[in-house]
């Protein structure tokens, strides 16, 4: 149950951290440090799918080390992020009301 609950917010969590360019492992670490650990097998393919859907753009960078693919929000991704954030706030407000009513 908890897994399903978390699965629903993974996309929003990822979009929230990609205001600037980040590579996959860096993003996973950042999410984990903030309490949103996402399995590697889930996160990296998700970045690809979001890119294919036009929500992210990516480029290869070396930054002095080995080459890595960096991702950030596209214009479409920013619009999606704003829309999902609005939906999330409405949802949490509704859930708060429901949970307060139940307790």
């Amino acid at each position: 149950m908890e897994l399903e609950l978390r699965r629903g917010v993974i996309v929003l969590a990822v979009l929230s951290q990609l205001g600037s360019f980040r590579y996959g492992y860096e993003l996973r670490q950042a999410l984990a440090e903030q309490g949103m650990a996402i399995e590697e097998g889930t996160l990296y393919p998700l970045l690809r799918r979001l890119e294919n859907q036009g929500a992210l753009v990516s480029e290869w960078r070396t930054d002095g080390g080995s080459p890595r693919r960096y991702y950030t929000l596209s214009d479409e991704g920013r619009a999606l992020y704003a829309r999902l954030t609005g939906s999330w706030k409405e949802l949490t407000a509704t859930m708060d009301r429901l949970l307060e009513g139940a307790s």
């Binding site: 590579y23 996959g24 492992y25 399995e39 590697e40 097998g41 889930t42 990296y44 393919p45 690809r48 799918r49 290869w60 080995s66 080459p67 890595r68 693919r69």
Partner: protein, 284 residues
């Protein structure tokens, strides 16, 4: 294998399951990700753990592509039910035919001649369900639920009258055609029962056509008649030849098996409908 060799082998295995245009890019990224995950622990055991976290190559590759569902989850149970049910019918009928004509190794004859070839049935079912799932996704408007037409019991008099005439002529033909040579034992004992049932059935349908509709009594009589017909047809086939000529007898028995299957399906449908009607009327 050292860590890099393990990672390279894994990445190659994932990449070959991806579309050609995606392979090089995903492989390069996956390799860099796995090396990042390893960090400073670049030993084979750590590489093994990192790879295990990604799952089997087929699973990892599948996550890089849009999900493909051939059989809708909602269709899984009906698919299983019809597959198993059909296989049981095929296997049992096949076992009966093997028992009737036993060879040197009946088990092998059943396995190779009936059980293995019977897999066409789940294959055909799967294709049918997959096609219907595709049609539902492709044209969702057509797949919208529609209520079933309400069964008022009314019949199309002209259509049913035409069918009645056809069946009546068929019955007369079965009795009078000179080139039909019935087996004497069938003619003496089983034939009259079949003829009597055909006539009673025709009378029942004549009553329905005159009334213009089915009612509870005629529906129940129809179910009973169908059960009787099924029972008599099984007896007719089990008791011996119907026609004197072997090939005619085999052909007719094949047709009778088909009629039995259709009759069984019809009885189940009509009985379910009657039970539903009965439970509805008793609950109101």
């Amino acid at each position: 294998m050292n860590a890099e060799q393990l990672i390279d082998a894994y990445v190659a295995d994932v990449a070959r399951r991806l579309p050609r245009r995606q392979r090089a890019d995903v492989a390069a990224e996956l390799r860099s990700i796995l090396l990042d995950e390893l960090g400073d622990h670049a030993d084979a055991e750590s590489a093994r753990r990192a790879i295990d976290a990604f799952g089997r190559p087929a699973e990892a590759a599948a996550r890089y592509r849009p999900p493909l569902v051939l059989l809708d989850p909602a269709d899984s149970r009906p698919f299983l039910r019809w597959s198993v049910g059909g296989l049981v019918v095929i296997w049992v009928l096949g076992a009966v035919s093997v028992v009737q004509e036993p060879g040197p190794n009946p088990v092998a004859a059943w396995w190779l001649g009936i059980a293995v070839p019977s897999l066409w049935w789940p294959g055909v079912l799967f294709t049918g369900y997959a096609l219907s799932a595709y049609v539902r996704r492709r044209w969702p408007d057509r797949a919208r639920w529609q209520p079933r037409p309400i069964d008022t019991g009314q019949v199309n008099r002209w259509g049913h009258a035409a069918a009645w005439v056809f069946y009546a002529c068929g019955t007369v033909a079965l009795v009078t055609l000179p080139w039909l040579h019935y087996d004497p034992a069938f003619h003496a004992r089983r034939g009259p029962w079949v003829l009597a049932l055909l006539i009673v059935h025709l009378v029942l349908y004549a009553v329905v056509i005159v009334n213009g509709r089915w009612n509870s009594l005629t529906r129940r009589l129809d179910i009973v008649m169908n059960l009787l017909v099924g029972g008599v047809l099984i007896w007719v086939m089990a008791a011996g030849a119907v026609f004197t000529e072997g090939w005619v007898d085999d052909m007719v028995k094949g047709v009778v098996i088909l009629i039995l299957l259709v009759t069984a399906f019809d009885v189940v449908q009509k009985t379910r409908r009657e039970l539903r009607q009965h439970s509805l009327s008793s609950s109101t």
